[in-house]
């Protein structure tokens, strides 16, 4: 991680306020391993972050591309929003059109959609952890720490043992999506009324075999124990006992994370606003053996809005997007996505507008989203206890992401076992002529929403609110920071030239901004060829 650094003298205003600032830095942190399209700027006083700005550096524009196109075109175009969570966009796009087509996909189509979406989440969780989060433990800043050698051995880029194995196994797991959807990523096999695939007995057998192999690897390397043993960990005391129980637990990736997180104090980093949002994910067919974690619920991950442990029902009409600090034409306050617009406006007002990401707000408040909100919504006992203490921190976020596969893998097995070879996968709905649809789902990084309006068979309005827009939003109309901007405030930075602590915080949100440009390059950098 490299950063540009500006050092200024002590602030006269701070002196007047009775506050003595000995040293001030402003850092521009590209955070390349997070995402090439994300830049973080922080202000540091006396070694602690006192303010932060999150800048999405690329204009997406998919919404504008969709205007005037055929009603079904969102099924092909919106999965291109992201190469990591394209299935989630397809689910949201199809679900929005279900509403307009007044059709309910048959139960086995729902299972197939759920399987593909859960596979996408699981593969991303292990890649994010092994390839993006844990490599920070191998940062030169920790060279003198006892854990550093192990971290380098396991997570060094392109050669760490856990990093390489995570690529091998996530590749195999993704073949399930390719079997069900014809390709990965950017599949388009989900449609209003279901899916256009009927997996054969051989297809399903292959999917189950791939899943079983992945589960064995996840248990052996990531957890160091069978899923059943991990599911017995229901409290902080259980977690501590589990870690002490066997060498295999301590030597697993999870065990290593827990031990290093304790040493580095991740439980105290990245607290943020502590508002969490889950829009609901994985509808459960009525004849499904997977129980809803909440009585009367209809989804594996029930929707809800949380202020730490205080729960409120989720109501999509309370979602708004603000653009005061985003490079779009201004409007007062916020707008519901159904009334939203995407009119780029790169102002010369330096510092006022600073991101291509809009600022989604729920009930007027910033909210973070992702696995932690999902496990909270599922009333996972360990998550409930950790959110109470130490709270919503880098540690609880990353622990939730690392262990979400332990929740999803058994459910995946059940869904795959329930799909018969001759499944009914599609029922026709009404013609997509005119109407309004909303597609909500939990995606890999959390809450995803598509709001679409169709008139005379054409798209007249399409607005997408992604999980990273929630997590990485800039300030809103009231100048309130976005979730990871707020989470950065208070972070100690030992060395401004290598601010690894900022990575621990921001990467705990698993940022993902759109990647659309790349080219091979020659003649720059250390080698003869560079990107």
């Amino acid at each position: 991680m490299s950063s540009s650094l500006t050092t200024t003298a002590a602030d006269p205003e701070a002196h007047l306020a009775g506050k003595v600032v000995r040293e001030r830095h402003t850092l521009n942190v590209p955070l390349n391993r997070v995402e090439g399209d994300l830049a973080i700027r922080v202000q540091i006083e006396d070694g602690v972050v006192v303010d932060a700005w999150s800048c999405g550096t690329m204009f997406r524009g998919i919404e504008n591309i969709l205007i005037g196109r055929g009603a079904l075109d969102g099924l092909v175009i919106t999965p291109r929003v992201c190469g990591i969570c394209s299935t989630a966009h397809l689910v949201a796009a199809a679900r929005a059109l279900n509403a307009i087509s007044r059709v309910e996909p048959p139960p086995d189509a729902v299972r197939i959609q759920n399987v593909a979406l859960a596979v996408e989440m699981v593969q991303s969780d292990v890649r994010q952890t092994m390839l993006m989060y844990l490599p920070d433990f191998a940062n030169p800043a920790y060279e003198s720490r006892p854990f550093h050698e192990t971290a380098v051995h396991r997570y060094a880029p392109m050669k760490g043992s856990s990093a390489i194995e995570s690529i091998r196994w996530s590749k195999r797991l993704l073949e399930i999506v390719a079997i069900l959807g014809g390709q990965w990523p950017h599949s388009s096999y989900m449609v209003p009324g279901g899916v256009v695939t009927v997996p054969s007995a051989a297809d399903l057998l292959q999917c189950r075999s791939l899943l079983a192999g992945f589960r064995r690897w996840y248990e052996r390397q990531v957890l160091g124990c069978p899923l059943e043993r991990w599911h017995q960990v229901r409290s902080r005391a259980d977690l501590d006992s589990w870690l002490e129980e066997r060498p295999a637990h301590r030597e697993s990736d999870l065990g290593f994370f827990l031990q290093v997180a304790r040493v580095l104090g991740l439980e105290q980093l990245g607290r943020g606003h502590a508002n969490l949002l889950c829009v609901g994910g994985f509808p459960l067919p009525p004849d499904c053996a997977v129980p809803c974690p909440r009585p009367g619920g209809a989804e594996l991950m029930p929707p809800g809005f949380y202020r730490r442990l205080e729960q409120a029902p989720f109501d999509q009409t309370r979602v708004e997007e603000h653009v005061k600090h985003s490079w779009y034409v201004d409007y007062p306050g916020g707008r519901h996505p159904s009334a939203g617009e995407t009119r780029p406006y790169a102002s010369g007002d330096e510092g006022g507008k600073y991101s291509w990401a809009k600022a989604p707000r729920y009930d007027g408040q910033p909210a973070e989203t992702g696995p932690l909100a999902e496990l909270l919504s599922m009333r996972d006992p360990l998550t409930l206890e950790l959110v109470a203490e130490p709270g919503v921190t880098a540690f609880t976020r990353q622990l939730a992401r690392l262990t979400r596969p332990a929740v999803l893998l058994p459910v995946l097995e059940t869904w795959l076992a329930e799909i018969p070879p001759d499944a009914t996968c599609y029922v026709p709905g009404a013609r997509l002529e005119t109407g309004v649809g909303i597609g909500l789902t939990e995606a890999t990084r959390g809450a995803l929403g598509h709001w679409v309006e169709i008139a005379h068979g054409r798209i007249v309005s399409y607005q997408i609110v992604t999980p990273t827009a929630w997590n990485g939003s800039p300030r809103d109309a009231s100048d309130v920071r976005g979730p990871w901007e707020e989470a950065l405030v208070g972070t100690p930075v030992g060395n401004p030239a290598n601010p690894v602590e900022l990575g621990h915080v921001v990467r705990s949100f698993d940022p993902c901004l759109v990647c659309t440009v790349h080219a091979l390059g020659k003649g720059r950098g250390a080698g003869p060829w560079t990107l």
Binding site: V34, L131, M158, I167, C515, W529
Partner: protein
């Protein structure tokens, strides 16, 4: 999965990154030799791994950003590109990252892999040259009966 594959990568909406998709379109109009598969790699990066693992031979076609800006087709190997990989994985990790990890992550023996780079403006002649080069490379060591010259519409 077997087979010989030409995988074209890039972004058709960004002119300096559009060479791969242009070569793809050119080859899609051609009658490909038996056993050669044409794949639109888009911006998939690491997710292209499953098209390499188990293949008989693979040729990637991508835009090449060079210092001298000389237009033309340049053939290189994954080893030559080893210095091009980003220092660490990111969602934007592209072809160079994939090529760097290939020897470690393939389940089956690593097939011969070539990279056809298109430098400078991707005009019609350059695209045709890149397509011809990709076809020549992908047919290397193929049984004579399977080799053929493409017929393009």
């Amino acid at each position: 999965m077997g087979g010989r594959r030409i995988i074209c990568v890039g972004n058709r909406y960004v002119p300096r990154d559009a060479a791969g998709p242009h070569v793809l379109e050119h080859l899609a109009r051609c009658e490909l030799p038996e056993g050669v598969e044409l794949i639109d790699g888009g911006l998939a990066g690491l997710d292209l791994l499953r098209f390499v693992d188990g293949a008989e031979r693979v040729v990637f076609v991508d835009a090449l950003d060079t210092e001298d800006q000389a237009a033309g087709v340049q053939v290189t190997s994954p080893a030559e590109l080893s210095g091009a990989a980003p220092p660490a994985y990111g969602h934007g990790a592209g072809l160079a990252y994939l090529l760097a990890v290939l020897p470690e992550v393939c389940d089956r023996p690593l097939p011969p892999v070539h990279v056809v780079g298109v430098a400078g403006p991707a005009g019609a002649r350059v695209i045709r040259d890149a397509a011809d080069t990709a076809l020549r490379l992908v047919q290397q060591s193929a049984p004579a009966a399977r080799r053929s010259s493409p017929g393009c519409g």
